[in-house]
């Protein structure tokens, strides 16, 4: 549905987006993750045709955004970070204007407007001026705007920024629901949000793609307990002996002794075996309490931070 190939945007020497390539399949929700200033908004601005790329191509449903802009733009609904609202209009007037702007047929519009307003729950504020709405409602009106004309593709730039927790959950639910019949690209710098909503995640940093994977694959590393540290109270040699009896442990190393009779060990086990329970049972048998157990594999946050900090060191 969306094909982005070798996309680059440079300002003088500075590259805001650097050789980005990825595709989004029909019906997929793709998360666009990165720290502030990573190039998320720039990429979204390019793929919606707001600004032009320096090189590379963007195709929406086969239509190039630069060569066939009208056709491509017809298929996109865009909610920028700051919702593009006219403060001096009522919600009704504003959505009518958007429908005119997007060439929605008059006869289809009436029913469509009702549906959209129901969906984002703004029917009861339809006669109020946009400028008098709260931030959460403004965001919803912005989202309604993106839905006008039933575009196949939705591009949402940080749709939950600045909302309160309840509103965030509502908007996320809404996005999930929309994902059933839309292709969605969603940007965020909040990890749990992306893993809660998206089918696939693109991690971008300094304009470059750092990783593309499903949130499951990324978080698998979270629950990977094949390598961990464990702190146990008990004399070192006896504890080691007990640990070595546990099936599946391949490697054992005493790391440090912080207090009297308290030692930390690094344990490595077979990848497919979860040895935490057997270890607990074995140590309980001998009466050596576990004080701490911590995975040494990277969390999603660690991956994210590592990807972004190594880049900094390269500079």
């Amino acid at each position: 549905m969306i094909e982005i190939t070798n996309l680059t945007k440079s300002y003088g020497k500075n590259k805001a987006v650097d050789d980005v390539t990825f595709t989004v399949e029909k019906g997929e929700i793709l998360g666009f993750l990165g720290p502030n200033g990573a190039g998320k908004t720039t990429t979204m601005n390019i793929l919606t045709g707001f600004i032009s790329s320096s090189s590379g191509t963007v195709k929406i449903d086969g239509f190039d955004i630069l060569e066939k802009p009208e056709e491509a733009k017809k298929r996109i609904g865009y909610l920028p970070e700051q919702p593009p609202l006219y403060m001096d209009m009522t919600v009704n007037e504003y959505l009518d204007f958007c429908a005119d702007l997007k060439f929605v047929k008059k006869k289809d519009w009436k029913a469509q407007k009702v549906d959209i307003m129901e969906l984002v729950k703004i029917s009861h504020v339809s006669h109020r001026l946009v400028k008098n709405l709260s931030k959460g409602y403004k965001q919803r009106v912005g989202l309604a705007q993106a839905l006008v004309g039933t575009p196949d593709v939705l591009v949402l730039d940080e749709p939950t920024v600045g909302l309160d927790p309840k509103q965030i959950i509502e908007i996320r639910k809404l996005i999930k629901a929309l994902g059933k019949n839309h292709t969605i690209i969603l940007s965020s710098h909040i990890l749990p949000e992306v893993s809660a909503v998206c089918d696939r995640v693109v991690i971008i940093n300094k304009g470059k793609i750092a990783a593309i994977d499903t949130p499951e694959n990324l978080s698998k590393k979270l629950s990977d307990f094949s390598r961990f540290t464990i702190t146990i109270a008990g004399p070192e040699s006896r504890v080691r002996a007990a640990l070595q009896e546990v099936y599946g442990i391949k490697y054992l190393e005493t790391q440090s002794g912080s207090a009297k009779d308290e030692f930390s060990y690094i344990v490595e086990a077979d990848k497919d075996l979860d040895v935490r329970k057997p270890i607990f049972n074995k140590l309980a048998e001998h009466g050596y309490p576990i004080l701490e157990l911590k995975s040494l594999s990277l969390s999603l946050e660690d991956i994210f931070l590592q990807l972004t900090t190594t880049e900094t060191k390269e500079d």
């Binding site: 300002y11 805001a16 720039t42 601005n45 919606t48 045709g49 707001f50 600004i51 032009s52 802009p69 009208e70 056709e71 733009k73 017809k74 996109i76 865009y78 920028p80 700051q82 919702p83 593009p84 609202l85 006219y86 403060m87 001096d88 209009m89 204007f97 958007c98 005119d100 702007l101 997007k102 060439f103 705007q145």
Partner: protein, 234 residues
């Protein structure tokens, strides 16, 4: 195009700006018109000269919001990512301001009507003056809308518009100062000359085409400016 024109036109009348400017225009015109009546003449050519001068102050303020407001509110994104051509966006913006200008001009029709009650003004002369004024207004609006596309600041847009209109006003004077080839070029560019032809009852088709091509040229410049911004903007 029509959607943008309708929205902007309404927005001028939703805010005090259109009322204040039109009110000011009518107020000043009426004071001067009282003088005309006291003199007992049914001649309105001085009225047109005043109207022309007032445009110098009114149009830059009226048009300064055309593009700057969208940039400030972030609604520029909405327009530029909609399936509309840049040309029709610019045309919509232009037509909205121009429609306000026409409303303002329509109010001045009251003066010739009053004159025709008390005396015998020359109908054709007034008609051709209005034609000239309306086309001159189109050029001025196109120029000021172009100015608002150049910058993000409304005040700067208004100042650019004012200076450009002022330049157009004094172009004949500049031409007489420089003389020679440059003088000829400036005289050729002079809108005033053509406008004065109209106010003397000379209905000249080439002048109309000349003024329309000014409008098209500034429309084109506006499109180019917006296009160029897309390449440089973040």
């Amino acid at each position: 195009m029509l959607a943008i024109m309708k929205r902007d036109f309404r927005s001028y009348f939703n805010s005090p700006i259109a009322y204040v400017l039109i009110g000011l225009f009518i107020f000043i015109m009426s004071i001067l018109f009282m003088g005309t009546i006291r003199n007992g003449t049914a001649e309105f050519s001085s009225g047109f000269a005043t109207m022309n001068t007032l445009l110098l102050f009114i149009l830059p303020i009226l048009s300064m919001r055309a593009f700057t407001e969208d940039k400030k509110q972030g609604t520029e994104v909405l327009l530029l990512t909609s399936p509309n051509k840049l040309v029709s966006i610019v045309a919509g913006k232009f037509l909205a301001v121009y429609a306000v200008f026409l409303v303002m001009t329509a109010f001045t029709l009251v003066y010739p009507i009053i004159l025709s009650i008390f005396g015998k003004p020359e109908g054709l002369l007034i008609l051709s003056s209005y034609v000239g004024f309306i086309f001159y207004g189109a050029v001025a609006v196109a120029l000021c809308v172009f100015a608002s596309a150049l910058t993000e600041n409304q005040i700067v847009a208004a100042v650019i518009g004012f200076v450009s209109l002022f330049f157009l006003m004094v172009i004949d004077y500049l031409a007489s100062l420089t003389g020679g080839f440059l003088g000829k070029v400036l005289t050729w560019l002079s809108l005033n000359q053509r406008y004065q032809d109209f106010s003397q009852g000379m209905f000249d088709l080439t002048s109309i085409i000349f003024m329309l091509s000014f409008v098209v040229a500034f429309g084109y410049f506006t499109v180019r400016v917006l296009e160029r911004k897309r390449w440089s903007q973040g």
